[in-house]
């Protein structure tokens, strides 16, 4: 009896997955999941974090500061607005930061969130300190 119940539950789950997968993929067709990085980026002097130099550009540093100010996570459209980029370009920028291990991108075709990693948080703090030092 228990085995029959298990099979019934599994069948219900599989049927619903088949229906939903098609619908979710159809929704995705109208949205982008990729973007090129911004072209004009100016390299900043390397920042040392955890004993290794981290090289950032001005726009990458700006995105990290936006994320830190937001508490560690922000939607891509706000990062775009705060850094003066389009959503597509800011997605490309976030991918550059993800390749450096500084952020994680949690995204569906419709919604995209960028989250600072622990290393990203430290780099953002170091970037902020460096910026304050230079402005003094």
């Amino acid at each position: 009896m228990e085995e029959l119940d298990e099979l019934r539950e599994l069948t219900l789950a599989i049927r619903r997955v088949a229906e939903a997968l098609e619908a979710v993929r159809r929704r995705a067709q109208r949205h982008v999941m990729d973007g090129p990085p911004p072209k004009r980026q100016h390299p900043l002097p390397p920042i040392e974090v955890e004993g290794r130099p981290i090289e950032l550009t001005d726009k990458q540093a700006a995105a990290l500061l936006v994320l830190k100010a937001a508490g560690g996570a922000e939607v891509i459209s706000v990062i775009a607005r705060m850094t003066g980029l389009t959503s597509k370009l800011s997605l490309g920028l976030a991918k550059q930061l993800a390749e450096k291990g500084l952020v994680r991108i949690v995204a569906t075709p419709q919604r995209k969130i960028v989250v600072l990693t622990p290393l990203g948080w430290k780099v953002a703090e170091a970037t902020e300190r460096e910026l304050e030092r230079r402005l003094r």
Binding site: E9, L10, A13, V24, E74, I113
Partner: protein
């Protein structure tokens, strides 16, 4: 249904199992609440299902400026794979394959 992964036994309701599988199958590895509602038949059911999966440590939830996204944890991915193996053994996986054609299921 019961799923055992790395010596740990999970008791999941069919909607919860379906959510784990869907998150595993979509190429981008995450779902919005609206996607979850497709599986869980409505807003309340969706919230209840993702909350339980988060309590079990199988799903991570991100909520920023009203944007909610849910993604599998590593353990969640292992449980989803175990459910898929169960479905394959029972001859049920073809329902997914036939449903989405050659879409990568």
């Amino acid at each position: 249904m019961h799923v055992e992964v790395d010596g740990k036994r999970y008791k999941l309701e069919w909607r919860e199992a379906a959510l784990l599988l869907l998150m595993r199958l979509v190429e981008w590895g995450a779902l919005t609440l609206s996607d979850v509602e497709l599986v869980a038949s409505g807003h309340i059911g969706a919230l209840r299902a993702v909350r339980r999966l988060m309590e079990l440590g199988l799903v991570e939830g991100f909520n920023v400026r009203g944007t909610r996204i849910f993604a599998l944890t590593e353990e969640g991915a292992r449980v989803a794979d175990a459910i898929r193996r169960k479905a394959e053994l029972a001859g049920l996986w073809r329902i997914v394959e036939e449903g989405v054609g050659s879409g990568g299921a």
